[in-house]
Symmetry: D2
Subunit: 420 residues, 4 copies
């Protein structure tokens, strides 16, 4: 059979194809004359699989979508404190091209407005940007020299911003050089395939889903996605987050990316923009997907089933061949704080009535750090209460490859077996 | 055994107890003279279990934490469009008490600043607020009449805001009455237990975790949490979201709530405030918890294991007693878009080699809408390819209580059995 | 013969009568329904003579034209420093109804915007305003109770401003009471005759030109006219001052006053307003008058003729009957700094060649303080050089009614005679 | 004798010499290291006489004092409308270096803030500035190349402003070139002598008091002085105008000029600046002078004496040798509107009782245009009433050099004689 996912994405594209609202960016000929009917979408899963529909191989300039990636590179290069000293993380409630410096510190309010993005760029050199973007995309990206030249010629506002930044000692290098570099950064050519995989890299804790490279550290990806959440869509950040509910960034050439942490990255392309500078059809595509796919981060999932799948007393045959009365807890799902809080509470309110206690992880598919700590603490407390605890851990989620016993603290141990 | 959760929370409180930074709110005697050492925390799970440590039974005024709940009540009462016509959802990057009206529409920028909250209050009457808050808290709340009187006496700025709102026709009722009602709304007495359960109600899609009442519709909870995400922490919204990463709201009496959709609600109380008006120790508690519990919404979880737990050919004995070669897919975890995309891709790339195909949901613990659609579409396509599809669905996740066959479209059916 | 002045003023009115541009103020019925064709002008000379043409006896509400007079009354009542501590004197470049508080002090920027005018009003009680306005107008003024009631009903913005002022501790009394009083202050009924005489009182150093009452001290009139110069015409202050060049104030009912220090006061009335809130035809009338009458304060007068009308040697018959060779200086015009600087320079460069020196003030029509000091200092120096100085001062400008000798310092005296 | 004026000015300087308040501008070494004790003052009368005391020959850079002169040159070059299309005339209430563009038009608010001054400079070329400044000063001025280079190096804010201006299409030339030219304009070296004579040229209707050159047209001088009145002292314009009351402009090197239309120009120099960027001792000098000299434009002069010095009936011997009963009006002072309004009113209320009417201008020292029109209209009306009018006009104020009869309209004539 053929997977229906591309058909679904095609259907989503068809649903917005006839929307001709909005206008192309008009300030340079290259954007003003772009084919306004171009329409594309790509979705990159965290295993690297990419679905792409529409004009998915048409290249366009990355523009402001470069901002989160340059921010991530600067964070990785200089550390959080050094970057925060230069650029804040507060939403400005203003359009992309406002100065928006903090009243006291004169820092640009955030790295998604031009003042912040120019400052971020000043922390990198052109080669760092080139190589970093290549790492995010998984391939070398070319600069559209024509767009670059046109943008530079009309970059009066960015020059004004850069000079004002140097005036306030936010940047120290040549404003003309910084604007040139920043303009080049915005002129890289990408397709929705590139952008989806770049977004997926952020959604994948900084690890490129295809090349496997750790492009930026995990904390950098988290920081970058956080800032995209509150500041990514300019003065429409609130509208976007209430309606779509995922971190995102748009560019004036019509690109738009979204990333769902731990799920995937996606990108749309359609040149006509709304009054906020966001792609009209791009926004509609994401609204549809958010609705269809339950991707809104504020969407409460259906009540999770208890991590305790079942508990029962049974007679297990022990090593010595004798039957032993045993209290068995079958766990399931994700052993996170919420799940294990329930298990521990259960052990508290309904203490096991047998010496032997078995915690069966067969149906558990992941154990987070917090979960590991909670399981071991539970085992420790049971042991202190006089129980003997055995984990059934066929896949070594808790115990790793080898051990058949786990130190649970206070000198106590829990047994580990592969099968019940 | 005793669950270690309260011990952990006690430890968290101890970790911040000696932090005496910040100042109590000084504008009314009741707040200026509050015991600055009070410290409390509560955590409410979605099954209603509440952990509470420290001064968990000390009541304080809800203040600005009333804003998201009043917003939710107004949304439920009037619908999204009517409320959006009056109050926007954009972060203002400004302090709580700024006017922050949109340049064109003169709408307050969002419901978390005073101008927006006063407007929201004007859409409700005092009784609606009283009953709504009681529903959120699961008990009747009392007004601190002394705080109410003091606040009203010093409510010059709110009066100014309310008159300016009527001047711009954002509100139409008496500014004096609206400010009185809004001040009363801020003067309800709560404990961290109350706040945690109120936050949990938002995190639980509007359903009170103890009473089970649908206090506000699911979409209202989503909208409210979205606005808390971008606007909840005033001009420190970006700092908060990068550091803690969950929707939140603070109040000038020292309260602070956080909600994680689908996980739980929590609340801290400590009267000393930082320069943004947020509780110093409250913020630190949440930072610790976010870190310990992997609750940051931009934190990418460990790579989820594939929804396809295993696939293998086996000979099953059919109804007629004969062995039938069958291709079995064991699924696990949450059958959401990301998981099922993998299954469908797998079915595409490695088509089953037998007529019979079994999709075993035994280890699946939830099926979202999008997952149900994808499973049925997969079954339809397999059927069209000539396969016979059987779901093993012991808990009726897909099929509900009764049916043993599912219509998958185009007249095709898939079989459903309870056990493999 | 009949003086042509009224004919000229009639002609000025006729020149603008057909201009129907602009709109009446619309926020209360009384102003929205005012007869838009009303047109009046009055001119009050400093001897109290008043010319009035057009609808000169139609009463309208004084509105913002009350601001300079209330400011003057507050200055007279509390002194300069006390008033400056509450309200600044800086132009705001903003419309009349902006808050415009100073960034640091939170003082309203000036007394001509509402925030400043409300603050000024808070320094007075209603009776002080009533009596003060009566003193300025030379008659009791009545309040238009209907306008007062309507204004008060729509005074949301002023209430907002007043509450914000109390919030910043700029005012301490009840915002509701202050706005009521301020609204009453704006509702006094005046005619252009009243306004012209009120303006003339300011132009006359605070002395009412008809009653002769010193309504406010000289320094108060100067301060008030100064603030009218830079702040009187809202955000059109610069346009007005470049085009018309005299201190002025407009009101939303269509009134407009101008004052030329030492010359006179005038007032126009025509209800249709331009986008700044200034009377369209009123502004045109003043532009015409400024042009015709050379009243623009930046207009350089024709080169003044030297204060030294002539100087010559002549033989005067002394007291003893003998002829004495004498050097005579005939002075003329206004003996101010500029004039006497020239005389003193002349005495320096071309010292008198005789023992006797006569300074003839017969043709001098005024001697300022500075002139008196300079004349005496000149006489002193001449005396020290060995000359004998005699002032011819038929009208006692220098010497007052009686003396025939003036102490010029260092024990020297100059003689004074009435005729040459 | 020696004129006491220099002694007086020395005394004024001594009065402020010990005031060491304020700080030198610190942004370039040349200003930061300027001798802070320098103190100078110069006063230029409209006949070209200049008094200079203190360090009157020390040159310093003109800085922002160049703004009004460049504005005047641009007005003269392009006309009022073309310049107003680029730069407004409204006070901004802001510091000198704010952007302060009008909300709608994006024009800089006025030519005294940097944004406006840079725009004004863009309307001129360097040679026009050089020659224009030379004409104002009456000598070629040199550029301080060291200051110029330092200023250019730290001109980040001005570059930012210039780029923003081109972004808004307010200027069209190269921002870098405009800032270079503007910085050069600010780097011209001047002494207080130069500045006093430059100010005097504005005060003298554009005519240089020494060279007699009409440097800029009369209307340009008026426009420039008007803008200096409302915008010349940055955000202290109101303080200045209430205290000193004359058009002025300050520069960051410590210069400060003031001009009194029709009276003279003056300049102070003292490098220490107050928080507004105005010379501390310079401001104090002007405050003293304004007080001593009655120069405040809002200062009401002592009640002017009536233009009618006297009126009496007398028997004059006519041409035929017979005595003729005649009504004689002796006029005095300045025959301006205010004066002649009184004469005409007098003729109205107390009509002359004889056929012959004589208006004696012997003691009148100037007749303005408006006065001439009024005298002729009075004569016309008297003639129509049947009188025969004779002007005694020994200096030809009314009649010029020759005529012995004046056409007063309607075919009527008045006689003119030289002596009574």
């Amino acid at each position: 059979m053929l997977t229906p996912v591309p058909d679904y994405l095609d259907e989503v594209l068809d649903g917005v194809r006839d929307d001709h609202a909005g206008e192309r960016a008009a300030y340079i000929p290259e954007l003003a004359n772009a084919d306004p009917d171009r329409l594309a979408f790509a979705l990159c899963m965290l295993d690297g699989t990419t679905y792409a529909v529409g004009d998915a191989d048409v290249a366009f300039t990355i523009q402001s979508i470069s901002k989160p990636f340059a921010y991530a590179l600067a964070l990785a290069e200089h550390g959080l404190d050094a970057v925060l000293a230069k650029v804040g993380v507060e939403p400005s409630g203003e359009a992309f091209n406002e100065l928006s410096l903090e009243a006291d510190s004169r820092r640009p309010l955030n790295p998604m407005i031009n003042a912040g993005a120019i400052t971020v760029h000043s922390l990198l050199d052109d080669e760092q940007v080139r190589r970093g973007f290549a790492a995010f995309a998984g391939r070398d990206l070319a600069v559209d020299e024509s767009v670059f030249a046109s943008e530079l010629e009309t970059a009066d506002r960015n020059h004004a911003i850069a000079y004002m930044l140097r005036n306030h000692a936010v940047i120290s290098s040549s404003p003309v050089d910084v604007v040139e570099g920043y303009t080049r950064q915005c002129s890289y050519l990408v397709t929705v395939r590139d952008l989806a995989v770049m977004a997926a890299t952020l959604a994948n804790a900084g690890v490129h889903p295809v090349t496997g490279e750790q492009v930026v550290p995990r904390w950098v990806a988290r920081q970058t996605l956080s800032v995209m959440t509150t500041c990514g869509m300019y003065d429409a950040a609130g509208d976007w987050f209430t309606a779509v509910g995922i971190p995102a960034k748009s560019g004036v050439a019509g690109g738009l990316i979204g990333a769902v942490p731990g799920k995937g990255g996606s990108a749309a392309f359609s040149p006509r923009l709304d009054s906020h500078g966001n792609s009209v059809r791009g926004v509609r595509i994401f609204e549809r997907l958010a609705n269809d796919m339950n991707m809104h981060l504020m969407e409460v999932p259906p009540p999770a089933r208890s991590v305790v799948r079942g508990q029962r007393a049974l007679a297990l045959r022990g090593e010595d061949g004798e039957e032993v009365e045993t209290w068995l807890y079958e766990l399931q799902g994700s052993a996170d704080f919420v799940g294990l809080e329930g298990l521990l509470r259960n052990l508290d309110r309904n203490p096991p009535q047998t010496h032997e206690v078995v915690l069966d992880l067969t149906h558990v598919h992941e154990v987070l750090d917090v979960g590991r700590r909670m399981l071991l603490e539970g085992a420790r407390r049971l042991t202190l209460d006089g129980h003997h605890v055995t984990f059934v851990d066929p896949e070594g989620l808790l115990s790793g490859d080898e051990p058949d016993a786990l130190d649970v603290g206070d000198g106590a141990e829990a047994a580990v077996v592969r099968t019940c």
